[in-house]
Symmetry: T
Subunit: 147 residues, 12 copies
Amino acid sequence: MNRQLTILNGPNLNLLGEREPGVYGRTSLPQIEDDLRAAFPDVAFSFFQANGAGALIDRLHRAHADEAGGVVINPGGLSHTSVALRDAVAAVVPPVVEVHLSNVHAREDFRRELVTAGACEGVIAGLGPRGYLLAVRYLMEHASTGA
Amino acid sequence: MNRQLTILNGPNLNLLGEREPGVYGRTSLPQIEDDLRAAFPDVAFSFFQANGAGALIDRLHRAHADEAGGVVINPGGLSHTSVALRDAVAAVVPPVVEVHLSNVHAREDFRRELVTAGACEGVIAGLGPRGYLLAVRYLMEHASTGA
Amino acid sequence: MNRQLTILNGPNLNLLGEREPGVYGRTSLPQIEDDLRAAFPDVAFSFFQANGAGALIDRLHRAHADEAGGVVINPGGLSHTSVALRDAVAAVVPPVVEVHLSNVHAREDFRRELVTAGACEGVIAGLGPRGYLLAVRYLMEHASTGA
Amino acid sequence: MNRQLTILNGPNLNLLGEREPGVYGRTSLPQIEDDLRAAFPDVAFSFFQANGAGALIDRLHRAHADEAGGVVINPGGLSHTSVALRDAVAAVVPPVVEVHLSNVHAREDFRRELVTAGACEGVIAGLGPRGYLLAVRYLMEHASTGA
Amino acid sequence: MNRQLTILNGPNLNLLGEREPGVYGRTSLPQIEDDLRAAFPDVAFSFFQANGAGALIDRLHRAHADEAGGVVINPGGLSHTSVALRDAVAAVVPPVVEVHLSNVHAREDFRRELVTAGACEGVIAGLGPRGYLLAVRYLMEHASTGA
Amino acid sequence: MNRQLTILNGPNLNLLGEREPGVYGRTSLPQIEDDLRAAFPDVAFSFFQANGAGALIDRLHRAHADEAGGVVINPGGLSHTSVALRDAVAAVVPPVVEVHLSNVHAREDFRRELVTAGACEGVIAGLGPRGYLLAVRYLMEHASTGA
Amino acid sequence: MNRQLTILNGPNLNLLGEREPGVYGRTSLPQIEDDLRAAFPDVAFSFFQANGAGALIDRLHRAHADEAGGVVINPGGLSHTSVALRDAVAAVVPPVVEVHLSNVHAREDFRRELVTAGACEGVIAGLGPRGYLLAVRYLMEHASTGA
Amino acid sequence: MNRQLTILNGPNLNLLGEREPGVYGRTSLPQIEDDLRAAFPDVAFSFFQANGAGALIDRLHRAHADEAGGVVINPGGLSHTSVALRDAVAAVVPPVVEVHLSNVHAREDFRRELVTAGACEGVIAGLGPRGYLLAVRYLMEHASTGA
Amino acid sequence: MNRQLTILNGPNLNLLGEREPGVYGRTSLPQIEDDLRAAFPDVAFSFFQANGAGALIDRLHRAHADEAGGVVINPGGLSHTSVALRDAVAAVVPPVVEVHLSNVHAREDFRRELVTAGACEGVIAGLGPRGYLLAVRYLMEHASTGA
Amino acid sequence: MNRQLTILNGPNLNLLGEREPGVYGRTSLPQIEDDLRAAFPDVAFSFFQANGAGALIDRLHRAHADEAGGVVINPGGLSHTSVALRDAVAAVVPPVVEVHLSNVHAREDFRRELVTAGACEGVIAGLGPRGYLLAVRYLMEHASTGA
Amino acid sequence: MNRQLTILNGPNLNLLGEREPGVYGRTSLPQIEDDLRAAFPDVAFSFFQANGAGALIDRLHRAHADEAGGVVINPGGLSHTSVALRDAVAAVVPPVVEVHLSNVHAREDFRRELVTAGACEGVIAGLGPRGYLLAVRYLMEHASTGA
Amino acid sequence: MNRQLTILNGPNLNLLGEREPGVYGRTSLPQIEDDLRAAFPDVAFSFFQANGAGALIDRLHRAHADEAGGVVINPGGLSHTSVALRDAVAAVVPPVVEVHLSNVHAREDFRRELVTAGACEGVIAGLGPRGYLLAVRYLMEHASTGA
């Protein structure tokens, strides 16, 4: 069973915790990563954050080349605009789950268009940092049952 | 701690398992309910399914009056059209998580408009029946930490 | 002269007073009904609230069958979506006045579309519970002058 | 051969004959039902009218459970708005034909959007009460040839 | 009683039976015409097919000049674009019924716009070649009752 | 208590009574003003009509400078277009109620956009000249209760 | 026969001849007025130009009060935005013909929306200063034949 | 000086006089042609009517090849849809004036889009058969002054 | 191997070389045809130009009946509007390549909608007369490799 | 060198300082004018404020007639709607810079459409009263360098 | 007082001076930087140009980490599309002013949508290289007054 | 004559051959590059692929600095979204031809918007890997003839 997961975070998520905390909360990205390691001790995580779409696509391709068991991606603002990132998700074999910290459906109109989500397996939005934990749990159960 | 959860299912979800299985899978609604009871033995679940928006709103109000600890709702097709159901979600105190079995972002254009989701705490879409389990897990953790 | 009026309230108006009081105020629906009875002692009111469009249409048809002198309707969220309710208003003989507690023109974009209002005689919006009183007054004067 | 047909009529069709006769004609719904029985004496008709989407979906599910040979539905105003009813049509096995008394393409813009029709086998619009007769004829010929 | 009917078929319907059979079926246009003659032996049919809007309008004008009892038209792709053909339908005296073999409401977005239908008496769509039979039946009954 | 009210009427309302009486009725503006004076003898009314947005904004500013107790405005066609008038309503202290004689929701599409109404306290539309009376009543009750 | 015509020119037409001559030509407004007087010596012209909608509406009302035989209006940029001016045209009795010097259909998108034209008797656009002459000729012939 | 003019009439204008007289009037096309010949005895008119865009484009090209002094075109319903006809107008040397009998700006939304007009020199709409006379007058004056 | 190709040119392409040379260049259609014959001496070309959609569809059907090896089509302005021509392309067996002389993506908005292209194998736009040569080369290579 | 500048302020800017100070700040218009005089002692300023578009256009024309060296305009709400004012800016010779106190791109959707700005030389928005100073500085430098 | 400013330039601004000089002028980016240093000798500038959004976001984050006193950003084409860059602007503490060399409101439609500007403090557009000087001046005055 | 060509491939084209082969075929990018070298042995190719827009713009600028004879670009998903890349194409001197492997006009709606193509010389879409060969051929012929 493949327990290698890639956790991709897009633009501005490196500022998590200090960036608009009323919207995104006060948990930092390293804390989220620690929480994931603690909650899933037998998963081999690869964490990656970048502010450019190109670097995220590169890393997604690598997860594909490395035959990762799954990918959790929070594309940040690219979720609403990047056809290139959507195509990358569609191009790779590992299942991809999209996560958003905030409830994008309750914000500005332009955040209600989810370009990348259409190529993902599914989306978890608005559940804060717990969204990452649930996405990993889904991928792990998915892997274990083959469903 | 409030471990009373209401699980609301909207129109056509009573046909789950036999309805368009290519889209919605082969698991029936009773099986999903059994899985929830098995996975969360210490939660007091109230299950309710109805095909009309009025009945779902009535039931949501009752969860409010009963001071339920949370609500998981799969509004089915009403998700894309019902301002009344959205207003009901906004009107009640218990946190509400919306679940969709299929990835609505990968289907017809009219399914990409999520009217009710904007009033919910968050959304889980495309992860099949596991979406209910993740939503309950979120609400239980939410309840236990008060976060 | 026909002094029988039907007052119809749509989804979530049963929660009035406790529901989003910043938007809808703190007056409950029974209080509004009491105020109407007190202000118009010689009017025979029929009050009805329901959360489903079907029940509201049924009741509107009954007002028609009973040859009510007029109807005041607050369709709640159905105002923005229900062609069926609009058709019901167009189908019945008694004059119908639509009331909204909040100023729908100052809220979300989807509340600026008034589907049902196009079939009503007129609309009063944003004047709070007084809107019901003004609507009844209009219908009573209308009835007495035949204009 | 299955000669059991369900004839579903949606909101406000109970007022047929007295409701906006310039648009919908002067034939009442019972007259239409009598005409159908007279024209197709060997068909076992189930007639049902309701003003709410939920009740119509319930009844459509029953036609499915009863393995009806076909369904004729006039969804009234729900035709233009109800994704839930569309999903119900898509969920059931019996072929469904949508009927409109008036020519919806010649009326208000919002009546030109036919949400439910996309899931039906076909649509007959603008041919008045004869539309029901033609739809039943189609379903009967369909049943007899298996085409 | 006027039993002269004109059956107009627009662009590409001459290829019926071999053209995209998954969408349009395997019945050829001559077969449909034979079926109509067989089913309505006492109707004097004029059949006409053309790929250009101008020729169809010419022929529609002729039906008008000849005082035909009615017209059945399948405008093919012109249905979605031709204001000129729509105006022709509006200009002529004989009642016109529009027929589509496929369910245009279940196909590409641009097929959901029915320009010509708004000027017709009604529309039958998605019922395959039977649609022509039903349209003729409607026109014949219409003629015989004068309704 | 401030019983000084300004009644503003926008473009073309000076022609009331002779202008499109099928839409706007046969009551003239002076008659409406007389009716208001008669119905509210203890209110000090300032009546003003102008066909230009600038003059209406000037007058609205004066009502503000004079600390009027409220303003009733019928912006006529400016209601659908004038951001400047909307900004003026938002800029002044006295509560403003918008009145339309006809039911703007039942007319041309461009009349369904109410630009100025979003900055008003509320709107009364479609109730004819009585709309002014109801608006004044609302402002007077508002003033007396401070609610 | 009423040979009194009002010629109304809207915003910026006072600058004609020096304003964007590539678009509007080099003929000044006084020259156009002289040409009209010369071409129609037995017509009593009232010429009026203003840059504000209010003044134009006032003047249009006056033409109505004076029972002018017709009005030629070049609303300039107001043509594309002013519902108030459109309503004024609809409110007055004399026939109104709209004139544009440039071909508005060949310019920016926002000039293709002709708000006022819908209430006029007709429109002449793109024929330069001759448009005024043709419009007057139309009104004079119209008056003389009563057609 | 070139006094050869081509008068092109598009789809359905051959039915003028009997076609929707409430909209298009009771004057027939031959009468219009006679009126033109009578009013402009020294102009060599070529009259042409066709219901298809191809034939109109062919004829427009011929006017170009014949070096006509100008063209008056009433494209009928093609005005709102035909890019091909628009391109033809742009391709030819003789000046083209578009004429509409009815005021297209006062009718259905789809008639407010004037595709062909953008390539013409100008447009005259809503002035009935006189529109042709005015267009010819414009072209003749244009030719005589060279402006 | 099938070396019979049909080259279809739509409206106004007969004027190539003299028509808006700044946009479409100075090469005439006969020159393009000569260049094709010279470049592909072993291809049997059928050249056809027409200004009407009907004639182009007729000719496309003939290429189908003749089992042509491929079709190059420049639909001119019909590319942006003709669903009928698109359906014809979809209906025929030979592969069809669409060619545009100018870069339609760099011109008016209405030229950016390519209706017919969606049914073609591909599109070459903006490369001038060379586009025809490249399209033929593609079809010949396609034919020779069967790919 | 021309050091005569006109500073135009549109509707509601006379209320600056007391009008929605959270949006527009607490500086009054006279203070802004004083600041400009103090900062540019060798500039001859003409200050003008009006609430109507007509008056602003009149004043803009005067700046043109007076051969002003430049104009700073804050059109207020007219910025989003007035084609007439845009045309006035395009019609005059002096360079015009548009200023907005608030950041219009961060407010309601209808404020993101800048109609007048397209005809101006440039726009400064969101920098508060300093925007006027910067605009004047730009015009002065522009004048001195002739660039 | 913090006199450290970051000047960010986005895609293609490295080609300034040689790139479309009719639109963007002939001043190169190094010249602009020299002009800024000369005009503000006591400001510590950090200049940065990149063609990718990721690098610009990285650099914006660094300005935030370095506690810069302000940022001037010309996002080039990213201004119209990048939600990620907008989010970066919203995430950082230093005030950000957006600059455009050309007047984006006078160009293609897609340049009128300013995605990033909504998160900035303000925008200066169309004033050429002087826009940078004015933006720096604003930030310096802002810093010195703390307003 | 300049025989140096740059071949740019955008996001995800490095996965060609294994990525959604049903859509993009089974030819890898190195194979396409080999085919180009084999077909044009006297062309000096520079091949470059990157997943980020910034890197592609950088490389396009280099082709400009190196005075390449032309550029073939397949922008992948960036074609539909990147104004920055479009601006880069417009900024450089070498002619640029856009290539798409699949027929973008036959896919999702968002792929029908070609942002970058408007700045290119032309587009070849849907002809698979042969598109690159045809684009190079065009650029070579272009170079040799200077046309």
